[in-house]
C-alpha cells in the first residue's frame, strides 16, 4: 500500500496546478463564454504545449503514457480551477473508447490530438435515454459496401469543437440490448449530418447531432460490428473516474472559498466565522471532500482491474460518494455565502453549477447505487 506520487506525478501535479491557476477561475468562465464551440483556443494550445492532450495515450502511440492516476491528478486540478475546456469529452473519453475498440486507429490519431489539431468526440447519448448505456435507437444499416446512419444524439461533450466524431449506432437488437451496438467514425462534413451547439447549465458547450441517412464507407466501422458495448462501458467508467476527481478539486475550492469568506465577511458586528454552526459545517465539508478524495483514488485505481464487475462496483461506489460529497459541499458553500453565493459574480456559484452537473453526469447517485445493487454491493457481499 502506497499513496505517494512518483516524482513525475508530483511534477505533473505542480505544472497543471500552475497552468490552471494562471488561466482559469473566473477568467476561464469569461473566456469560455466567448467561445462558440466551447474550446478556448489559447488554453487548448497551452494544454498541448504541456503534453496534456497526449497524456492518456501510450507512448508507442505517440502519447505520454499517463494512466488513471495521472488523469486523477489532472482532473483534480481542473476541478479546482473550473476548467471548462472539454478535455474529458475531447480527449479522454473517445480515447478510452478507441483504445479498447481499435488501438491502431487511435495510434493514427494521437499525434494530431496531442498537438491540439484534432479534437475528438463520442456521440452516444440519446434524448430520453437517461443513463441507460445500451439505450441506442440511432440505427446503422449495411448498404452496398458501406453503411447508412440515421438518428439523433444529444449532450455530446466537445461535440461542437470536434473535428473527428465517433457515433454509436445500433446494427442489431432491440432498443436497449447490450448486443448490437457499433461505433462509426463520421466525418464532420458528411452529407446528412447536422450539428447544433448549445450550452449546458455548467457553461460547457455541447452539441446535438442529427444524422439523416448519412452514408459512410465500410471502413467507418470502428472495432467489431455489434460488439461495442463493453468498450463503451469501460470508456464511460474511465470518464466517470475522471469527473470524480474533478468533483474533489471543485469541492476543495468551494470549501476554501467559504472558509475565506466567513473569515472576511462582517455581519452583526463581527466576522461570520465566529458562528460555531458555520465552523462546524465547514468541518463537515472538509470531511466530505476527503471522503470523496479517497473514493476518487479508489475509482482511478480500479480502472486497471481485470475483473470487470469489480471495476464497475468500484466506479459506482466512487460516483455515489463523490456525488454526495459534491452535493453536500456545494449546497453548503452556497448557503454560507448567502446572497452572493447564488449569483454569477463569484467563482463559487459557477463551481456549484458544475458540481451539480457532475452529480448527475454519467449517472447520478441513484443510478450508480442501483448498479452497485445489481452487482451485489461491494465485495458482492449482498449478492446471491
Amino acid at each position: 500500500m502506497n499513496f505517494e506520487y512518483s516524482d513525475e506525478q508530483a511534477l505533473l501535479s505542480d505544472a497543471v496546478t500552475r497552468f490552471v491557476s494562471d488561466r482559469y477561475g473566473l477568467a476561464g468562465v469569461r473566456s469560455a463564454a466567448e467561445t462558440k464551440d466551447g474550446v478556448t483556443a489559447a488554453n487548448w494550445q497551452g494544454m498541448a504545449d504541456m503534453g496534456l492532450l497526449g497524456m492518456p495515450f501510450p507512448e508507442q502511440a505517440g502519447g505520454f503514457g499517463g494512466g488513471p492516476v495521472e488523469t486523477q491528478i489532472v482532473m483534480e486540478a481542473f476541478g479546482r480551477g473550473h476548467v471548462l475546456d472539454p478535455w474529458v469529452g475531447g480527449v479522454l473519453l473517445p480515447g478510452a473508447l478507441l483504445s479498447a475498440l481499435d488501438p491502431a486507429r487511435l495510434t493514427e490519431l494521437v499525434p494530431d490530438v496531442a498537438t491540439g489539431d484534432l479534437v475528438l468526440a463520442l456521440a452516444h447519448e440519446e434524448d430520453g435515454a437517461r443513463y441507460v448505456t445500451a439505450q441506442v435507437v440511432t440505427n446503422a444499416r449495411r448498404c452496398g459496401n458501406g453503411w447508412r446512419l440515421s438518428g439523433r444524439k444529444v449532450n455530446v461533450l466537445a461535440g461542437a469543437a470536434a473535428n473527428r466524431l465517433f457515433v454509436t449506432a445500433r446494427t442489431a437488437g432491440a432498443e436497449a440490448d447490450e448486443d448490437g451496438i457499433s461505433v462509426f467514425e463520421v466525418p464532420v462534413d458528411a452529407p446528412g449530418l447536422s450539428r447544433t451547439a448549445y450550452r449546458q447549465y455548467d457553461g460547457q458547450t455541447v452539441a446535438a447531432l442529427t444524422l439523416d441517412d448519412v452514408s459512410l464507407p465500410d471502413g467507418a466501422l470502428v472495432g467489431d460490428e455489434g460488439e461495442a458495448f463493453s468498450a463503451l462501458e469501460l470508456a464511460l467508467d474511465t470518464a466517470t473516474a475522471a469527473i470524480c476527481a474533478e468533483a474533489v478539486g471543485a469541492t476543495e475550492t468551494m470549501l476554501h472559498a467559504t472558509v475565506d469568506y466567513l473569515k472576511t465577511r462582517q455581519q452583526f458586528g463581527g466576522p461570520l466565522s465566529r458562528f460555531q454552526v458555520l465552523q462546524h459545517r465547514c468541518a463537515e465539508m472538509y470531511v466530505a471532500v476527503e471522503q470523496a478524495r479517497s473514493m476518487a483514488l479508489y475509482a482511478a485505481v480500479s480502472l486497471g482491474l481485470e475483473d470487470r464487475d469489480e471495476r464497475r462496483r468500484a466506479i459506482s461506489a466512487a460516483k455515489v460518494q463523490c456525488a454526495e460529497s459534491a452535493r453536500f459541499a456545494g449546497q453548503n458553500a452556497v448557503q454560507m455565502h448567502g446572497g452572493i453565493g447564488v449569483t454569477d459574480e463569484l467563482l463559487v456559484g459557477h463551481l456549484f453549477r458544475r458540481t451539480t452537473m457532475i452529480e448527475r453526469q454519467f449517472g447520478d447517485a441513484g443510478h450508480h447505487l442501483a448498479r452497485l445493487d445489481r452487482l451485489g454491493g461491494l465485495d458482492n457481499q449482498m449478492g446471491e
Binding site: 441513484g366 443510478h367 442501483a370
Partner: protein, 406 residues
C-alpha cells in the same frame, strides 16, 4: 378536533380549482409547466384576472378590496395556486406594502395606492437589503436628507428582486444618522422608479436568470408626501411587514406541484432492465419520504393557522419558523427530486432572458428543460426571507428560551 377540511372549505377549494382551470391563460400554464417560471407580463395579466374576481388580496380587509376569507380559505387559495401552478399575487404588493399602507398610511395614500397595488397596475419592489448589511438589515446606510418638500436619496440597495419590472419601490432609508440605536432613525418611503437618478443593474443568479438587482440612488428626489407614517419610525413598519401573513410560507403546494411533475417524468424515464424510474427502489424511497414530510408540514401549517385563529395576536408567531425552515427544505428536496427525475434532459441551459440569442437549443433535445432551473432557483429558499440559520436562532430564543447570544 377535525383535521380534514369542512364541507364548506372543500367547496371553496373546488371553486378555486375550477376558477384556475377555467381562467388561467393557456400560455401561462404551458410556460410554467415547461420552465417552473413566469414572465412579468404573465404575472400582471393573471393578477388582473384575480382582481376582477375579487381574489387579488386574500387577507386584506373587505373595505380595501379583500374577499373576507378565513385563514383556512387563504391557505387553501395559496396552496391551489402553487400546485396548479399559477402565479401567486405579487408578495411585495399584496403581503408587504399593501398592509403597511392600509395600517399606517394616510387616507390620501390609501386611495391613491391601494387599488393600483391590488391590480398590479403599479408593481412594487422592496428596497431593504444593502451591500455589507447581509442579514443585519438595520445596518442600512442609504440616506434621505430633507430638502424643502422632498427627500434627497443617496446610496445603494442590493438583492432588489424584480426591480427591472417595478413601477415603485418601498424602501427603508436613514433619515437620522445620529440616532442612538441603528434601528432608530430609519424611515419608510415609497419611491417612483421613474425618478431621475435611479440606476438598476442586473444580478445574474445560479439558475442563469435575471431575477434580482442592485439599485443605485444618486440624488434622487422623493416628495415628502410619499413618507409612510412618521419619520424615523420606519423600522417598526418593516417589522410589522416582515411578521405579517407567515402561515403560507411553508409553500407546501409548490413542493407538491414539483413532486407531481417529478412523478410524471419518472413514469416515462427509463432505467436499467427495461423498467421506468418510478419503479426504481431508491427513487421511490425518496419520493415516499418526501410525501411524508410534506404531509407533516401541511398539518403543522394548519395547526399554526388554527392556533392563531383561536388566539389572535399582533406578535409574529415563532412557531411559524418551523414552516419557513422545513418549507424551504422541502421546496429544495422536491426541486432536487424533479431535477433527478429529469436527468440529462435537464442539462441544457435554457435562456429565458434571451440574452444570449446565439445559445439556441434545438427543439426536442430536452423534454424537461425547466427542471434544472427550478433546482438552482430553489437554493436561495433557505437564504432569503430569514435564512435557515436565523430561523433556528428564533426557535432557540423565542421558543426554547436560550438567552446566550450564539
Amino acid at each position: 378536533m377535525e383535521l380534514s377540511f369542512s364541507p364548506d372549505e372543500l367547496a371553496f377549494r373546488a371553486e378555486v380549482r375550477a376558477f384556475i382551470r377555467d381562467n388561467l391563460p393557456e400560455d401561462i400554464r404551458a410556460f410554467a409547466h415547461r420552465s417552473g417560471y413566469y414572465k412579468a407580463d404573465q404575472v400582471r395579466r393573471w393578477q388582473k384576472i384575480l382582481d376582477s374576481r375579487g381574489w387579488a388580496a386574500g387577507h386584506w380587509p373587505v373595505e380595501f378590496g379583500g374577499p373576507g376569507w378565513t385563514a383556512v380559505q387563504r391557505y387553501i387559495f395559496n396552496e391551489e395556486l402553487l400546485r396548479a401552478p399559477a402565479p401567486e399575487p405579487l408578495s411585495f404588493n399584496i403581503n408587504m406594502v399593501g398592509p403597511v399602507i392600509y395600517t399606517f398610511g394616510t387616507e390620501e395614500q390609501k386611495s391613491r395606492f391601494l387599488p393600483k397595488i391590488r391590480s398590479l397596475d403599479w408593481w412594487f419592489c422592496q428596497g431593504f437589503s444593502e451591500p455589507g448589511a447581509g442579514s443585519d438589515l438595520a445596518a442600512l446606510k442609504t440616506s434621505a436628507v430633507t430638502d424643502g418638500d422632498s427627500y434627497v436619496i443617496n446610496g445603494q440597495k442590493i438583492w432588489t428582486s424584480t426591480a427591472q419590472h417595478a413601477d415603485w419601490m418601498f424602501a427603508l432609508v436613514r433619515t437620522d444618522p445620529k440616532a442612538p440605536k441603528k434601528q432608530m432613525g430609519i424611515s419608510f418611503l415609497l419611491i417612483d422608479m421613474n425618478t431621475p437618478g435611479i440606476d438598476v443593474r442586473p444580478i445574474v443568479t445560479i439558475d442563469g436568470e435575471h431575477h434580482t438587482n442592485e439599485v443605485f440612488f444618486d440624488n434622487v428626489r422623493v416628495p415628502a408626501e410619499n413618507l409612510i407614517g412618521e419619520e424615523n419610525k420606519g423600522w417598526d413598519y418593516a417589522k410589522f411587514l416582515l411578521g405579517s401573513e407567515r402561515t403560507g410560507i411553508a409553500r407546501v403546494g409548490l413542493s407538491k406541484g414539483r413532486m407531481d411533475r417529478a412523478l410524471e417524468l419518472a413514469r416515462v424515464a427509463p432505467v436499467y432492465g427495461g423498467a421506468r424510474l418510478i419503479e426504481d427502489p431508491g427513487f421511490r424511497q425518496r419520493a415516499l419520504k418526501l410525501q411524508v414530510e410534506l404531509k407533516a408540514l401541511e398539518i403543522s401549517a394548519l395547526r399554526i393557522i388554527d392556533r392563531q385563529r383561536r388566539n389572535p395576536s399582533d406578535k409574529p408567531d415563532a412557531a411559524s419558523s418551523i414552516l419557513k425552515l422545513r418549507g424551504a427544505e422541502t421546496q429544495q428536496a422536491s426541486a432536487e427530486l424533479l431535477a433527478d427525475a429529469a436527468g440529462p434532459s435537464a442539462a441544457p441551459f435554457f435562456d429565458f432572458r434571451e440574452m444570449f440569442s446565439d445559445n439556441e437549443v434545438p427543439q426536442g433535445v430536452a423534454r424537461a428543460d425547466g427542471a434544472m432551473r427550478v433546482h438552482f432557483a430553489a437554493r436561495p429558499a433557505t437564504i432569503y426571507g430569514g435564512a435557515s440559520e436565523v430561523q433556528k436562532n428564533i426557535i432557540a430564543k423565542a421558543i426554547l428560551g436560550f438567552k446566550d447570544k450564539p
